[in-house]
Symmetry: C2
Amino acid sequence: MNGVLAAVATPMRDDLAVDRHAFAQHCRRLLDAGCHGLGIFGTTGEANSLSVDERVEAIEALVADGLPADVLLPGTGACALPDAVRLSQAALALGAPGVLALPPFYYKGVSDDGLFRFFAELIERVGDDRLRLFLYHIPPQTVLGFSPELIGRLLDAYPGTIAGTKDSAGDAARIKRICTDFPQLTVFAGTEKFLLDTLRWGGDGCISATVNVTAPQAREVYDRFVAGEDAEPAQAALTATREFLDRFPAIPAMKAALRAQTGDEVWRNLRPPLDALDDTRVRELLSGL
Amino acid sequence: MNGVLAAVATPMRDDLAVDRHAFAQHCRRLLDAGCHGLGIFGTTGEANSLSVDERVEAIEALVADGLPADVLLPGTGACALPDAVRLSQAALALGAPGVLALPPFYYKGVSDDGLFRFFAELIERVGDDRLRLFLYHIPPQTVLGFSPELIGRLLDAYPGTIAGTKDSAGDAARIKRICTDFPQLTVFAGTEKFLLDTLRWGGDGCISATVNVTAPQAREVYDRFVAGEDAEPAQAALTATREFLDRFPAIPAMKAALRAQTGDEVWRNLRPPLDALDDTRVRELLSGL
């Protein structure tokens, strides 16, 4: 699992239930637009605003609707160990090649020992050699995260299972360090701004909210890098798009852009506590794009 | 619902399941020690480390085991609206007179509009006139919280339903302001340090982790205040105990104290990511108590 992955937005009906049809359609469109894989039910996917049942049912529906399970990297983050276990087992049962795991994010100021114990219990309770955990480092939402020391401890204890990381700290120096210190880890930058740098440092790609609209641009950077061609101009264009998008809150902006792109009103809806962009901001976004 | 409430610790077996027998026993002991009510499944109760099913089953078991539902203030906090709805409905069905509701705590930097919409949806989806929401303000864990403006908006929109608040910001001036601005609200301080002040400001009591061990002392302050007697010396003694306890992480310290007090090894266990106190710290705690 590497390359360009979208952190997929989740379409929701007016009653805020996941719109199964629009979800499968959006996932197929992202693959057609160049995504190697789909990071469903992460932060962008409003995963933690959905119940565990809703997440399991929606992933099952995606696969039943014909999405290939081997491109899916479902988020299985949860504060409660039994929820993380159940989500991981459901993803494995469907054939997902990996899962993206948040640290338990309710308590703040917890120790690396406590976080290690959480993941050790998770791995042992899932009890399946096929489990591939991608550590989801996103301190802007979770506050706590994965220190390099914790990543090292987890890799030493579970070398076959700890497969990768998505690093959404927004800190290029940290991504470089993780790529350097842990070459066995599949490293995804959390923003396509760092895509080319991450690849040069030995990392593997990006998983990003804005890839919902930048997929073709991001794919061009990746393909040029892999082909040994000059990827700088493509990265500069991608970075410019991303920097424009960074002026807006990511999830509402992606939904507004997808509404305009598809004409599907289902993209109007976000689960609270997230708000939709107001009309002025939507116009600003669309004229900029 | 007012007075001295313990934020009840949850006993867990070696497999980390809730120990039903020890839980009921501990709840009864807290009532015997002077608690007016029991804030089960809050932060101290490791609620967010339990699945929704586990929380619902444990509350049902408590009532089945003879705990009077009318002393229970169950935490129903969840990031996902369907989870908050289900937990609230389960608490109502059992006869709990109120529920303690966290803001949805995954996303940071969300607007008051978004939080308002979350609680409006929650109240409308629960759809039960008996619902009494206590707003659980605890920014040390959730980062976001209830601004006075948001509390005012919710009270205006749902005057019968927004019943109270537990304020765990650790800020006496804020509690005073909430008591003053919203006299119709039942206000609990999140620490017994502010118990007497809160009562003087027109508030109603405290809900606190450390009441798991300070219940008789806190009750003395409350009873003296209500009787019009001098409650200062009792508050000074209570504050001294609390300040000693504040040197330790609250949940591990409560479990260590309860293990020593009851001799029940079930209190050794915490769900990750929380760690038990090490032996040196346990000795320091117990000799101080």
